[in-house]
Symmetry: C2
Subunit: 338 residues, 2 copies
């Protein structure tokens, strides 16, 4: 005696056509909704599908439609471990959105000088399009995609022109956070420590920071601004110089810089927020679980993921949509700036 389910062959189009005494073509049309079909027959078909628990074989569908219902997701394998939560959450958003459209997400791991997984997937025609969760700084991923006629969207900025981009609104976010700080504790003496200025995200952050001053009472003190801080050495130098200027508040370009700053202030016995306020342009769990927790900007990585999947699927189905989609931000005011 074997169990019911396992010796019952999975029903296919033909089975439901037979059960209803109609042709496969008609059943197929009822399901796809393409071509005219009598409402009555359509309903009969749907009822039968439900009863027989029919689910189309996606592979067969793929072959005849010449689309895979898969989208590739390029994820950097050489990422900083601190970035993992972002990608993880982004992937969750992508997977969720794919499921809604009956697509699946195929992982593509890339490294700086190794795009072999991407090449494989393209050559094997296993995906209809690709989401690049982090473009290489030289645009090589987009170029490969482009020259292979593979539709794609990218999360964040891209050096490659004409790419469809899904990004958070860093400029306005950073402007909002900066403005808040300027107004909350006047006259705030604001320091800034930003990372590598070749990264477009840091340019955006800088732009947002600067623009907050245009309407404000205070003017910018250049001596408190440090950009291109992308190594431990540069960080130490920058902080040393910055502290000499006695700022009342320091904004960190990202959570990594912020963690370093917190460690250093702690070492020096500088209390937060009483002796120094601290904020970050990019939130992470680590900032929330600090004591005191750090004021920062929050960007919804899951939404970034689902929006890019959504946009890519629109692209694949020739649905009209914007070339750039910009998502919002949240300002998380926490203990470090009170």
């Amino acid at each position: 005696m074997t169990n019911n389910k396992s010796n019952q062959r999975k029903p296919q189009l033909e089975d439901i056509a037979e059960a209803l005494g109609i042709s496969k073509s008609t059943v197929s049309r009822a399901i796809s909704g393409k071509g005219r079909i009598r409402a009555e027959t359509r309903e009969k078909v749907f009822a039968c599908i439900k009863e027989m628990n029919y689910r189309p074989n996606m592979i067969a569908k793929s072959l005849s439609e010449r689309r895979t219902y898969n989208i590739g997701v390029v994820v950097p394998m050489d990422q900083n471990e601190m970035e993992a939560p972002f990608f993880q959450t982004c992937l969750n958003g992508i997977a969720k959105e794919c499921a809604v459209h009956d697509y699946d997400a195929v992982l593509i791991g890339t490294e700086k000088d190794n795009l072999s997984q991407l090449q494989r997937v393209i050559q094997n025609r296993k995906v209809d399009g690709v989401i690049v969760t982090r473009p290489a700084s030289d645009g090589s991923i987009e170029e490969l995609l482009d020259s292979s006629d593979m539709p794609f969207v990218v999360v964040g900025r891209s050096v490659h022109s004409n790419s469809i981009i899904i990004d958070s609104d860093h400029v306005n976010g950073c402007k909002a956070l900066t403005s808040y700080l300027l107004l909350a504790n006047p006259p705030e003496k604001l320091g800034l420590i930003l990372g590598n200025m070749e990264h477009t995200v840091n340019k955006s952050r800088y732009a947002g920071f600067m623009s907050a001053f245009s309407g404000a009472e205070q003017h910018i003190d250049e001596r408190l601004l440090f950009t291109g801080v992308d190594s431990d050495l540069k960080f130490s130098k920058a902080v040393a110089l910055l502290l000499k200027e006695k700022p009342s508040c320091i904004i960190c370009g990202d959570d990594v810089i912020c963690m370093k700053l917190l460690a250093l202030l702690n070492e020096k016995g500088i209390a937060i927020p009483s002796q120094m306020r601290v904020a970050s342009f990019y939130d992470s769990v680590y900032l929330d679980s600090c004591s005191p927790p750090v004021t920062s900007l929050y960007f919804d990585a899951a939404k970034l993921g689902s929006a890019s999947a959504d946009r890519l699927i629109d692209l694949l189905t020739d649905t009209e949509a914007e070339d750039t989609v910009s998502l919002g931000f949240e300002l998380l005011i926490r203990g470090s700036t009170l």
Copy 2:
């Protein structure tokens, strides 16, 4: 004028058969290596494939072979953000290994009470097998897979019997770390803070810890052992009691517990390692970048991933292999226990 590549149709089996004046069947056999074929013809075929840059259409191959060359990867969407680096690295290992075997990894996001993505993928027959990177504590994922006749392997322990399991050797790892501590600074007065004992991994850790004492000079002091510490409240209570006993070294069950302990010791002004040594049974970047960095056990998540992909693919191709594969560990002796 359009570019060369794009108006050249991708070559297919028939094209290379034609070019060589032989049949598609023969070409197919040359490629697959199934069935007898003259060495000479095989070589001609390979040469031609190379020249025409032929790559088989995997979807067509899938349909006729009734296998998808996809494996599903179940990833928890409701994970703790601290766990992200583990899953990320594990996914990298899986993707890499899949590529080697010309498989692809399809993402399947699951939540505690929502296995809908998994159900979809199973029903759509989009994967040949599944890797469960973290089983639900009630075994529901394995049950669903089992009842759907979907081959699978699980990373870590499983409550589900007869599952194929790929895991790190926590018992021996924890034993090794504990033994090291006992020998390095005798007589070490060892405290232990372990998390939820329903998690099999914590049982293994406990077992490893205990077994280190069997050959050692020191005997276990039960008053220094705290298990089931899975909330902030329980943590505070445990540490308060533990510190009263004046241990010389505290072992933390995982990196989260360790981070909390470090923060608390720091608050209390207890210096590491001079006034208290600290170690962890599970490493993470955060422990490495502490000052001093924390002695801990390192498990290779990427290897865990690639080993599970490898094992699953063996299973799918009826290759013999062990039901349990156990990976090693590394002991990272760092500043916190010197």
